[in-house]
């Protein structure tokens, strides 16, 4: 919203104060001011009022005229002018030689053979409107030679407040409310509005009007006739233009002026078109043509203003074309009303049509404002069109006033909330300056909240704190740390495990962490042959490609692998992210935090790659949980999973995830020459596995005996299955089993383990060791393993 410093100064005397500094304080205490501040009129000087005394056609140009103008110098000035609207006796804005307009300094200048000693200006040239159809026509009675800046408010400081920062301040949607803030910030008096006395019309008949719907809080109206003025005074037009609106006609301008001044939207109906005002909704949707000429579909939830049964305006949003003020309107029925804010907001959404009025109404305007707005309107109307005659009494139906709000708190409350001391007098002065009624008794304050703040914004004591502190200034706060007792802080197991996982994956396994979106990438997945898997969907996805939430991170990660083909011949990526695995019995999403790891290689064999991944899973388990994971062969369920070497991963007996090789079809779609393997681990399940405690074992003082067994393992038998053969001996004489070597050919799968025997009490005899070894060997033999001892 654009604001005029001149307009604000109508209501508070800011003489002698640094206006830019005040605007800055306003930004820190009230609402955000945009960076650009416009010093209107500062680049214009030397423009005077002049009268055209003669007009001669230019002998060689059809467009140009040769004028003699009276610029108040005692003699006439020759001017060449190209404007079409020149005529004798017309007064205009004249830039004398030496005048400045922007970068240009006016000097005598030859135009088609004739010297022009100055320039007649259009309104757009001096920046007071966008009218560039001709030169400005001044109808006010002003002597020639008068500097127009002394009669018209060209000089102004215009600043813009971010509308979003006014969301919660319905009172700040007009200059009057803004001026109240400036008065409070500057510590100056806030002046009342000049208004017409409406009681003098009490004897006149009422406007026929009735609220028939609870969505209308208040409706105030008055009827005026004999309006003769059609064009607004220049100063009104300048203010409207500076504040971003275009002048239309006097009556329309005046309603806009009132809205920009008081924040109260008003509507002027042509009284010929509106009688029996009824405010209500309709049973069925219908089409309604608004004054911008657009046919709009209005539904049964939208509040309408009607003349009898005929809708004439969409309440709070826009008037209808048929009842609009036109140039020959002389009688008007004025609406100053208040509607339910939420209903206006929803209607604008349904109609996809926001207007200056609806933006204000949806903020919960103060319904107390409707009548003073009419009084102010009449004051301005009669001042500028003295013949205008009020022909009805003020007609006001106040269906739903807001209940008054009175708050009570003590000094200790303010002290506690602020953490500093703001004394009683400052509190009283601040609140009074903002229009609050304040009484004090000892340390207790009783505060009556003014009507313009109770509609949504100040309803409880914490709101008062904001009022006191923002005017006090946050820059003036003494800054203190909190005095709270200290307690140890314990991180959760999931969080700790997740961080450890990331560190290990990055630092030990040289993987790269990536992030991705929580939905399935329909297009990208399709490109590598992975269809979207049925899962819960977004209701309002902006495009169908991101509609379905993912239930595994692997498809996402495979898409990302494809992105990175060519990055390196070998790389691995991982992500700790979320998936949704369907809905639970309460229809709520089952959200899981997963760790997904994918390895890609063009140089390693698929077996090497697979075991690298296996070692990553084992490494995470061993490092974080001191546990060895168990792998159980399983049948894959997804199309991108290779049916061979798919394993479920268990940790401490808990199923925590799975690992496998990417199915050749998908793998080839990503990269014909590379192998890709994946694993996904449920982080919460991983964290839930009990970490094995460190059990320190004193190194034995007695020599240990080592025994190497080379085992040729037959096809179909897994090394993991052989462990039971030495499980009984472990923890007794057998202290450790370590793999020394693996040897694989097409026919042979050989693993050499070293058995380490020892005791803390004595030196073992080779006989008792041999006995254990023999037991192990015979166990192995039963599983078809042949032994080569060393």
């Amino acid at each position: 919203m654009l604001l005029s410093m001149n307009w604000i100064s109508d209501f508070v005397d800011l003489e002698g104060l640094d206006k830019l500094e005040l605007i800055h304080r306003f930004s820190l205490s009230t609402a955000e001011v945009e960076n650009d501040i416009y010093m209107k009129g500062s680049d214009i000087s030397g423009i005077v009022v002049a009268e055209i005394k003669s007009v001669e056609p230019h002998p060689e140009s059809k467009k140009l005229h040769l004028l003699k103008v009276d610029a108040g110098d005692g003699s006439l000035t020759d001017v060449v002018c190209g404007a079409p609207n020149v005529r004798v006796g017309m007064k205009t804005a004249f830039a004398k030689v030496g005048a400045k307009i922007g970068e240009i300094t006016i000097a005598p200048r030859k135009l088609a053979g004739y010297t022009s000693n100055g320039m007649c200006c259009g309104e757009s040239e001096i920046g007071i409107s966008d009218d560039n159809s001709g030169i400005m026509e001044i109808t006010d009675d002003i002597p020639c030679g008068t500097d127009i800046k002394t009669v018209y408010d060209l000089d102004d400081i215009i600043f813009e407040v971010d509308n979003k920062s006014l969301t919660n301040r319905p009172d700040l949607w007009g200059h009057y409310g803004i001026a109240r803030e400036f008065a409070a910030l500057a510590g100056r008096e806030f002046k009342p509005l000049d208004t017409a006395d409406l009681t003098v019309y009490d004897a006149l008949p009422k406007v026929d009007m009735k609220i028939e719907d609870t969505l209308c809080r208040r409706y105030s109206s008055i009827k005026v006739e004999n309006i003769s003025r059609t064009v607004s005074p220049v100063n009104i037009r300048i203010r409207l233009y500076y504040c971003g609106m275009r002048a239309i006609n006097f009556l329309a301008d005046l309603t806009n002026y009132l809205m920009l001044e008081m924040g109260q939207p008003m509507h002027a109906f042509d009284a010929r078109k509106v009688e029996q005002i009824r405010i209500r909704r309709f049973d069925k949707p219908f089409t309604f043509r608004t004054l911008d000429g657009v046919d709009r579909n209005v539904d049964e939830n939208t509040l309408m203003i009607c003349s009898g049964d005929t809708p004439v305006a969409i309440a709070g949003i826009m008037g209808g074309l048929d009842s609009e003020i036109v140039d020959d309107t002389t009688t008007l029925t004025l609406e100053s009303a208040n509607f339910d804010a939420a209903s206006i907001r929803k209607s604008t959404v349904r109609l996809s049509h926001r207007t200056d009025a609806s933006i204000r109404y949806e903020k919960s305007l103060d319904p107390e404002m409707t009548v003073p707005a009419i009084a102010r309107f009449l004051y301005l109307l009669q001042k500028n069109d003295p013949g205008a005659k009020v022909v009805s009494s003020l007609t006001d139906e106040y269906a739903a006033p807001f209940p008054p709000v009175t708050l009570s708190f003590d000094q200790a409350f303010v002290d506690r909330y602020t953490g500093i001391r703001i004394d009683r007098d400052t509190i009283v002065k601040t609140l009074t300056g903002l229009g609050f009624g304040v009484t004090t008794q000892d340390d207790r304050f009783t505060v009556d909240v003014p009507s313009w703040r109770i509609t949504k914004d100040v309803t409880m004591n914490a709101d008062i704190i904001e009022e006191i502190t923002r005017i006090y200034g946050y820059d003036n706060f003494e800054i203190n740390t909190a005095r709270s007792p200290l307690y140890p802080v314990r991180p959760t197991e999931e969080k700790t495990d997740e961080e450890k996982m990331k560190d290990l994956l990055v630092k030990r396994f040289s993987l790269h962490e990536v992030h991705s979106y929580v939905w399935q990438y329909a297009d990208e997945q399709k490109a590598i042959g992975i269809p979207v898997k049925e899962n819960i969907r977004l209701l309002n996805a902006s495009n169908p490609n991101i509609e379905t939430i993912r239930c595994s991170m692997i498809p996402t990660q495979l898409c990302q692998v494809k992105t990175n083909v060519g990055f390196a011949s070998e790389f691995g990526i991982f992500e700790a992210g979320r998936v949704v695995k369907g809905l639970d019995e309460n229809n709520l999403c089952i959200e899981r935090k997963m760790l997904a790891v994918t390895l890609y290689s063009k140089t390693s064999s698929i077996k090497e790659l697979y075991f690298r991944l296996r070692d990553i899973v084992s490494g995470l388990s061993a490092d974080i949980k001191h546990l060895e994971p168990e792998f159980r062969a399983a049948q894959p369920t997804e199309c991108y999973e290779h049916p061979v070497n798919y394993n479920k991963i268990f940790l401490g007996g808990i199923e925590i995830g799975y690992m496998g090789i990417v199915h050749p079809t998908v793998s080839k779609a990503i990269d014909k020459k590379a192998g890709i393997v994946f694993a996904e681990i449920d982080i919460n399940k991983f964290a839930s596995a009990q970490t094995a405690p460190i059990q320190y074992e004193e190194p034995s003082k007695y020599p240990s005996i080592e025994y190497d067994l080379s085992m040729d393992i037959p096809a179909g038998v897994l090394f993991g299955n052989l462990r039971e053969c030495w499980k009984d001996a472990e923890g007794k004489l057998l202290r450790r089993v370590g793999v020394v070597d693996t040897y694989d050919t097409e026919e042979i799968h050989r693993i050499t383990v070293r058995l380490e025997f020892g005791s803390n009490e004595r030196t073992l005899s080779s006989a008792e060791v041999q006995e254990v070894v023999d037991t192990i060997i015979s166990g192995l033999a039963e599983k078809g393993v042949s032994i080569k001892t060393a």
Partner: protein, 350 residues
């Protein structure tokens, strides 16, 4: 000197000359000084000599024995030295400048920034909480003073799911749960609530270099008996100075957020010019950084905490924005791209 001794001595010298390996030398030692060696044999033969000869011969043989031991010892040293020298000479010169392979992985930049922030807050006694991404309407809105029909719901384009849940549009969605989790300890034992909760948030908006529908925030709350606006400014200034590793000034302006009252927009002194004014801060000297405020009484109440007894502050830091500022990332979409050409550059930075 005895002739046998002499000739043996000459032979030893000659043989030593020819020996070039330690194993040959060992064989030689055995052939002279071993149990069956030549010198040992001489000593054994002494018993056949006359008594007057015995003494002189014995002395000669002992000298020879000493001589042989010493020479073999010297030769051993020499051979060992030569062996080491040969080993050294055989060592090729490596190209140490050859590119290192696969020596480190990388963290996502969000992880780095998030960890930095978490560490700062932990050091100030805050717990770090995790929270889900799919939440209920109650968690995201109702519980934090955004009732149905509240205009603030229009301000956010929330992703809704088929079952009525939604993707959280703000980390504030975790606030109620955290107040409820730590409220009992506050009320029963006076343990202040000090928590940060980083998390991923979602807004249904079109993406471009500056806008993402998926981004990270970190929310923080502190609740105790006398938490004040003054404390809020202190914590924000201290924490942000740590985050940016330089003295930061903060500035509060009134801001409207339903879950706080009073609510603020927090600006920091410009990181680039220090407040003098530059293009980055549009010559204002300040950068708008994050919303914060005193927790709204309705939010405390809904979290089971009596707002007449306790007060608290809350803030919401944009982790994604921090990461972009810190590392000069210009296109926000790079963060979720999975593209290692950009992401692999972020090695450990804590």
């Amino acid at each position: 000197m005895d002739e046998k001794v002499l000739s043996l001595k000459e032979r030893i010298d000659k043989e030593l000359e020819e020996i070039s390996s330690l194993s040959e030398l060992d064989n030689m030692r055995v052939s002279y000084l071993g149990k069956k060696g030549s010198i040992t044999a001489l000593l054994k033969g002494m018993k056949d000599l006359a008594a007057d000869q015995k003494k002189a011969f014995g002395a000669d043989v002992n000298k020879l024995k000493e001589f042989a031991s010493q020479r073999i010892e010297e030769k051993t040293e020499e051979l060992r030295r030569r062996q080491v020298e040969a080993e050294i000479a055989s060592m090729p010169v490596f190209d140490v400048s050859a590119p290192a392979e696969n020596c480190t992985g990388s963290y996502h930049p969000i992880t780095l920034v998030q960890r930095q922030c978490e560490a700062i807050f932990r050091s100030m006694g805050f717990t770090v909480e995790d929270y889900s991404e799919v939440v209920t309407d109650y968690e995201c809105f109702e519980a934090v003073n955004i009732p149905k029909d509240h205009p603030a719901r229009d301000m956010q384009d929330t992703y809704y799911l088929e079952n009525g849940q939604l993707l959280k549009s703000q980390t504030t969605a975790a606030q109620n749960a955290i107040l409820r989790k730590y409220g009992p300890a506050l009320k029963e034992n006076g343990v202040p609530i000090k928590a940060v909760f980083p998390g991923r948030c979602f807004r249904n908006e079109a993406t471009d270099a500056c806008h993402e529908n998926t981004f990270f925030q970190m929310e923080g709350v502190m609740v105790d008996k006398n938490i004040s606006i003054s404390n809020l400014i202190y914590f924000m200034e201290t924490m942000l100075s740590e985050v940016f590793q330089k003295e930061i000034k903060v500035r509060l302006r009134p801001g409207f957020f339903p879950f706080v009252e009073p609510g603020f927009e927090l600006d920091i002194s410009c990181l680039f010019c220090g407040g003098e004014g530059c293009p980055s801060c549009k010559h204002s000297g300040w950068l708008e950084l994050c919303p914060c405020g005193m927790i709204h009484p309705n939010v405390l109440r809904e979290g089971g905490i009596d707002p007449d007894e306790y007060t608290g502050f809350a803030f919401g830091l944009g982790l994604t924005r921090l990461a972009m500022m810190k590392y000069g990332i210009k296109d926000i979409r790079d963060l979720n791209s999975g593209n290692l050409r950009s992401l692999s550059q972020f090695t450990d930075d804590n």
